[in-house]
């Protein structure tokens, strides 16, 4: 396809003008000294007024981390990270934890306003249909505000920052923290266990259907800081919760590290739906700056007939290393993974899932759509395995990749491991470019090329978008078209 001037201009602007969340909030911050040591961990723990066992847990993880090596098997390439050249704790001054919205620094409130995140509990106006979303806003290393807490409490749902939960519900946290992703799990998860600063805690008691969508919004603001979030969601027997996660960061020339751990636990008949729209700063057109996103997300379908569903739209980050997984332990449990991963510019994505079938009659479904443009590399890496005793395990996997431009790469690396003869695994993958026929058909009807491509891409990702909560679906769709803008040529 010949490039028109308009397209060339757009390509030139790519990644610089498009990242609309790249602004910085000027605010006085309190930081821990640079570097990582037991002192820093003690500092973080003290800042959060944590009980002694929590500090021990962290230190234990830290000592183990010192013995681990950074994994190199992913198809991502980046200069070595100096873990001692980072700030592990940065919080707005006078804010060491969530407080009433009226006490929060107006600069921070302005930031979230700009990002379009509602922090005030707006009343639903008569005649206007807007659904409520409870938000936990995490700014660098602290949660600044959590909305609708009272209303959720009435329903029995606990939704608060994890730092608060450690203080208020230590028994619950102690019981579940690290039970899905142990501190020994992997390099980044172990690092996170040592230094995590904030994140959300959700507990939905037996038989409760969470009355509204829960959401956490992560914002990295400070320079040279790493963000280490830790989220823990527990759905007791028969409970249901839908949780959304969003993230952005300012535009900076240096890379920043984000290493999160998310643990989900679903008991008998419970269902957890976890959706992510990941839009960390991806770096500029030269590949300078951007977030290194090393994330361990795992759900444990601990109970019978439980269900965990991961939906992710990945458009940001310079490097993404992320494999939301399901451990299908309970008989009849079900895991789902829906993913759209869009890479442009110099982005590198190595993402996918793991479905580990342990119980009987478990099933899983994987739909992954990768779109690569620019000079990016986009890899799907996924594992489906059955245990010897996991009778009647079912899996269906489909991963499709779309390539836009001839300087990018799309890769598929599935690992399929069957140890039981009653397993039925089906896997299919395709890689192609936008069909010329489809494009021609649109152009011929007067749809401009950019719009036609957006249309075709939207069709390509539809299956996944449908899985997102409505408010997010619209946002995600916009995000994908922004990410791909100017990639034709």
């Amino acid at each position: 396809m010949p490039a028109v001037q308009e397209t060339i201009d757009q390509v030139r602007q790519i990644d610089v003008d498009q990242y609309k969340y790249g602004f910085e909030t000027t605010i006085e911050m309190e930081k821990a000294p640079k570097g990582l040591s037991e002192e820093i961990i003690r500092f973080i723990s003290a800042k959060k007024s944590e009980p002694e066992w929590m500090l021990e847990w962290r230190l234990d993880a830290y000592r183990r981390w010192l013995t681990l090596e950074e994994p190199t098997w992913a198809r991502v390439d980046y200069p070595k990270i100096d873990f001692n050249d980072l700030y592990y704790y940065a919080a707005p001054k006078n804010q060491s934890g969530p407080m009433s919205i009226d006490d929060v620094d107006p600069e921070i409130l302005k930031t979230y306003e700009k990002l379009g995140i509602p922090l005030r509990e707006q009343e639903i106006l008569a005649g206007v249909q807007t659904s409520k979303i409870a938000v936990d806003a995490v700014f660098d290393s602290v949660s600044v505000v959590t909305t609708f807490k009272e209303e959720l409490k009435k329903a029995g749902v606990i939704f608060m920052s994890i730092s608060e939960a450690i203080r208020e519900y230590p028994e619950l946290v102690k019981k579940y923290l690290g039970s899905v992703v142990p501190t020994t799990d992997n390099f980044y998860a172990t690092l996170n266990s040592a230094v995590f600063t904030d994140g959300s805690f959700v507990f939905v008691p037996k038989g409760v259907r969470c009355p509204m969508e829960l959401s956490t919004y992560f914002r990295i603001n400070e320079k040279n800081t790493g963000q280490f979030e830790r989220t823990l969601i527990i759905a007791e027997e028969g409970a249901y919760v839908s949780y959304l996660e969003g993230c952005t960061a300012p535009q900076r020339d240096e890379n920043q590290l984000h290493a999160a751990v998310v643990e989900l636990v679903a008991m008998d008949d419970a269902e957890i739906k976890y959706s992510t729209v990941q839009n960390w700063y991806p770096g500029d057109k030269e590949g300078k700056g951007g977030i290194y996103n090393f994330v361990t997300k795992r759900g444990d379908c601990r109970g019978k007939n439980s269900k965990i569903s991961w939906t992710q739209v990945e458009t940001g980050s310079a490097i993404t290393w992320k494999y939301p997984s399901c451990v299908l332990r309970g008989d009849g449990s079900r895991g789902e993974f829906y993913s759209i991963a869009v890479s442009n510019g110099h982005q590198q994505i190595d993402s996918g899932t793991k479905m580990i079938h342990l119980g009987k009659n478990t099933s899983s479904r994987i739909i992954s759509k990768g779109i690569a443009a620019g000079v990016s590399q986009n890899t799907y890496r996924g594992q489906v395995s059955t245990h010897r005793k996991a009778e009647n395990a079912r899996n269906f996997t489909q991963c499709d990749s779309l390539l836009i431009g001839d300087r990018c790469g799309a890769h598929t690396v599935p690992y399929i491991e069957a140890k039981n003869s009653s397993a039925q695994f089906e896997h299919e993958a395709t890689t192609s470019k936008i069909s010329e026929d489809q494009l021609f058909y649109c152009l011929q009807r007067g749809i401009p090329e950019e719009a036609a491509i957006a249309l075709i891409v939207n069709g390509f990702v539809k299956e996944v978008i449908q899985e997102l909560p409505m408010e997010f679906a619209v946002e995600a769709q916009k995000l994908i078209s922004i990410s791909l803008e100017g990639s034709v040529g």
Binding site: L403, D406, C408, A410, H411, I416, A418, Q424, E426, A429
Partner: protein, 424 residues
């Protein structure tokens, strides 16, 4: 070479090093050849045998699986056997020693040992990459093999069977094969054991197809139940060349068959068909990579696996499409019938795509026998075990039937049904 203090070698690693020290005086070739061997062995010793952590060996932890290494035996006494297809031209390597004989016009075969002796083989004694353990072991120990050349435009009515047979001990062979432009041939590369004692067999086939050559190459491996078989098949295809490669595994205790194909000429085409018949306590790994480096090339791969008893099977397949290889069409599928709860199968079908105007896909399934099909047969009075056998047979025989040559199809079908009868 002595074992360095501080490096802990496994029993098999130590045995390899020791075996090399014992044999090195009598291995053919000195000077450049010996230097190349020494380098490969010291690399092997340094890196050790691969574990799961080496991605290319993820499902075959050779360090753990290779428990011992049989010694090289001077008095091995296997005899050549009848070819699979009657009337084939037979070239044989017996107990690791090549036998050349009068051949039909258009084909020549020379002893590989001669090129080790004169040093001309030295340049080829290198590992493909840092994970190429087969290349290292084979290159260190190789004693003989056959250099086969098929003349330009040559065509043959009967298949050519390259037979490597042994009864025990160590056999390390190489087969450099060249097909001239426009040559057409069917070749059966056959590895088998006639004894029950353990053997370690390594084999490297290195093939070049000149432009327009059309070759059907069948690898049939039926080593003994105690044998380790580590083989590598490498091929480079010229413009418009066509390679139809069949790989049938029906033996061995620990088997790794690597296949590395460069579809390097425009218009070239690769067809790979694999049949893995796995039973007993065997571990069989077929690892395949195809590189599409130029525009307008095609490849299709179909792998069928039947896994019984306590057998473990592995298929790793990688389709790589280079940036300039536009209009590539590549399809890969891997279907497994897992017939025992103690059996295992792992598949890793990979796509690595750097060009945008391509059609690439892969599919993988792991299933049990289709119960509706079974019911259908049983409803017609076929007893269950027979119905099962029919369905299993159909699952793999389908692939063989794609070959046009009827005597060849018959011979291979015979090989498959023999195996199924013996193991079912």
């Amino acid at each position: 070479m002595n074992i360095q203090a501080g490096i802990k070698l496994t029993a098999a690693e130590a045995a390899l090093v020791e075996s090399y020290n014992e044999q090195v005086g009598e291995l053919p070739g000195d000077g450049a050849t010996l230097l190349a061997r020494d380098t490969l062995l010291s690399d092997l010793k340094e890196a050790g045998l691969p574990t799961r952590r080496v991605e290319a060996w993820h499902y075959t932890d050779l360090k753990a699986l290779l428990k011992s290494v049989p010694a090289f035996l001077h008095g091995a006494s296997a005899q050549r056997v009848e070819p699979i297809v009657p009337g084939s031209t037979v070239l044989s390597v017996v107990n690791g020693k090549a036998h050349t004989r009068l051949l039909p016009e258009g084909i020549t075969a020379k002893s590989y040992a001669d090129t080790l002796l004169d040093g001309s083989a030295a340049a080829g004694l290198v590992a493909r990459d840092a994970d190429d353990v087969i290349g290292r072991i084979n290159g260190s120990f190789v004693r003989d093999g056959l250099i086969v050349e098929i003349a330009e435009g040559a065509a043959f009515e009967a298949p050519i069977e390259i037979q490597s047979v042994q009864n025990c001990g160590q056999v390390n062979t190489r087969f450099p094969v060249r097909f001239g432009a426009g040559a057409k041939a069917t070749v059966i590369e056959r590895h088998l054991a006639t004894g029950e004692d353990a053997a370690l067999v390594t084999s490297v086939t290195d093939m070049r197809l000149a432009d327009d050559a059309e070759v059907t190459w069948i690898i049939f491996q039926s080593e003994g139940e105690a044998d380790t078989h580590l083989a590598q098949f490498k091929a480079e295809l010229g413009a418009n060349a066509k390679l139809r490669l069949y790989v049938i595994n029906g033996g061995g205790k620990l088997v790794r068959q690597e296949i590395h194909i460069a579809v390097a000429g425009e218009g070239s085409d690769l067809t790979l068909r694999g049949i893995n018949l796995l039973g007993g306590e065997s571990h069989t790994d077929v690892t395949f990579t195809v590189g599409h480096d130029v525009p307008h090339t095609t490849s299709t791969e179909v792998i069928r696996n039947v896994v019984l008893d306590r057998a473990r099977g592995v298929f790793q397949g990688q389709i790589r499409v280079a940036q300039d290889a536009q209009k590539t069409d590549a399809k890969m599928s891997c279907n497994t019938l897992l017939l025992s709860d103690d059996a295992e199968f792992s598949a890793k079908p990979e796509l690595e795509i750097f060009a945008d105007d391509v059609q690439c896909g892969h599919g993988a399934t792991v299933i049990d026998i289709d119960h509706t099909q079974l019911f259908y047969l049983m409803a017609r009075g076929v007893p269950e075990n027979k119905a099962r056998a029919m369905l299993v047979n159909a699952f793999v025989a389908e692939i063989v039937e794609e070959l046009e040559d009827e005597t060849l199809v018959e011979a291979l079908e015979g090989v498959i049904s023999d195996w199924l009868e013996k193991h079912a």
